[in-house]
Amino acid sequence: MIEAIPFLLQGLGTTVIITFGSFLIGAFCAVPLALARLSDIAPLRWLATAYIEVVRGIPPIAWMLVLFYGLGRYVTLPPLLAACLALGAVSTAYLAENYRAGIQAVAGGQWEGAGALGLSKGDTFWRVIAPQGIGVALPPSASYAVGLLKDSAVASVIGVSDIAFRALTLNQQGNPGLPIFLAAGVVYMVVSVPMAVLARKADTFIRTRSAV
């Protein structure tokens, strides 16, 4: 049982890679998606809305299976990549909604004010709107990252050797399941609780700062 712990912990790296990998994909791809969602061009807006709604409407584990088994006929993705892409696609949709809320929270007067100063639309967005919107978008995105850590366990069903998968392996090798899975749960907690605390701290920090 004690020997099992190092084996379990080796999965932590993989879990972290899935979490960060998919969060990075999402954080990056959500920018154009959020802009499309707020675009003046109706079809673009519809497409973005459809992506966000549909992707969020389908559970992450289903995305995992789609990319791994569904695409399996055409390309064989390494499980780790499939997991990152699947969760990346999902986080893109969620983070885009956070970004949108951030952008919309910045008062419309800011656009007009910047326009009156002769700033271009691009400059206005990147230099005036985005820096203010980040305060609104960041805290929910940080909590989303915590959620992503827990969702990453789903990667075990396509054979990614993360914490959950290693716990399952140990159990199938004949180790008693209860302590193994509880230990796995504790490992997740050890990472997710500090992350959640940090996210909450960031939230209150930003709130108090922007309240002044």
């Binding site: 409407g57 006929r73 209860l178 959640a196």
Partner: protein, 213 residues
């Protein structure tokens, strides 16, 4: 493609029934649990409060899939053997309780302090105060987010795939493993998930904007 879909649909709908049954039962057990946790978290008894917070943090900090593994693969070591359906309900209900406790707590705390003091000064006892004054008012703040949460529960039932529960996703997988049309059948299953989720979410939004007036 559509012909295949029509052919597969009955099988998927049977799976959907299981998903919905797990959703319903998990909510039925999980919501009272969430309310209980909420009362525990605002209790004046310190031990009770801390114990509840610990349980809730466990429920929120451990991935649901791992909780599912604990219940399905782990509990048999303690002599409790559950089949996949019951295991899924137990795990998801626990998860629901942990997550919705925060919704209940916020709802209970949304009732103005003055109303509670008024109830106390009128001499209402604790249970009457909860039943006639606090809960009816708190429900307004609680019901909309709980309905949104039910969508999350529905989606969470797909984790049953990992313990061979014949729910929607697993049914799709079974069809795929016979026909090798994984992509097509997963798309169909995905559309079913999305359709239900979107419809319920829209419905909740509609109610929400209506009551907001």
């Amino acid at each position: 493609m559509f012909e295949q879909w029509i052919q597969w649909l009955p099988g998927l709908l049977t799976g959907l029934q299981t998903s919905l049954a797990v959703t319903g039962l998990s909510l039925l057990l999980g919501l009272p649990l969430g309310l209980l946790f909420a009362f525990g978290m605002i209790s004046r008894t310190r031990i009770l409060r801390q114990a509840t917070i610990l349980i809730v943090e466990l429920g929120r900090g451990i991935p649901l899939l791992v909780v599912l593994y604990v219940v399905y693969f782990g509990l048999p070591d303690g002599g409790i053997v559950l089949e996949s359906f019951a295991a899924a309900v137990v795990a998801i209900a626990f998860n629901t309780g942990a997550y919705t406790s925060e919704i209940f707590r916020a709802g209970l705390l949304s009732v103005p302090r003055g109303h509670i003091e008024a109830a106390q000064s009128l001499g209402l006892n604790w249970t009457d105060e909860a039943r006639y004054i606090v809960l009816p008012q708190a429900l307004r703040a609680i019901v909309p987010p709980l309905m949104s949460y039910s969508v999350i529960v529905f989606q969470a039932t797909s984790l049953g795939y990992a313990i061979a529960l014949p729910e929607l996703l697993n049914s799709a997988y079974q069809i795929g493993s016979v026909t090798f049309e994984f992509l097509s059948v997963f798309i169909l299953a995905g559309l079913i998930y999305a359709a239900l989720s979107i419809v319920v979410s829209r419905f909740v939004d509609a109610i929400h904007s209506k009551t907001a007036h």
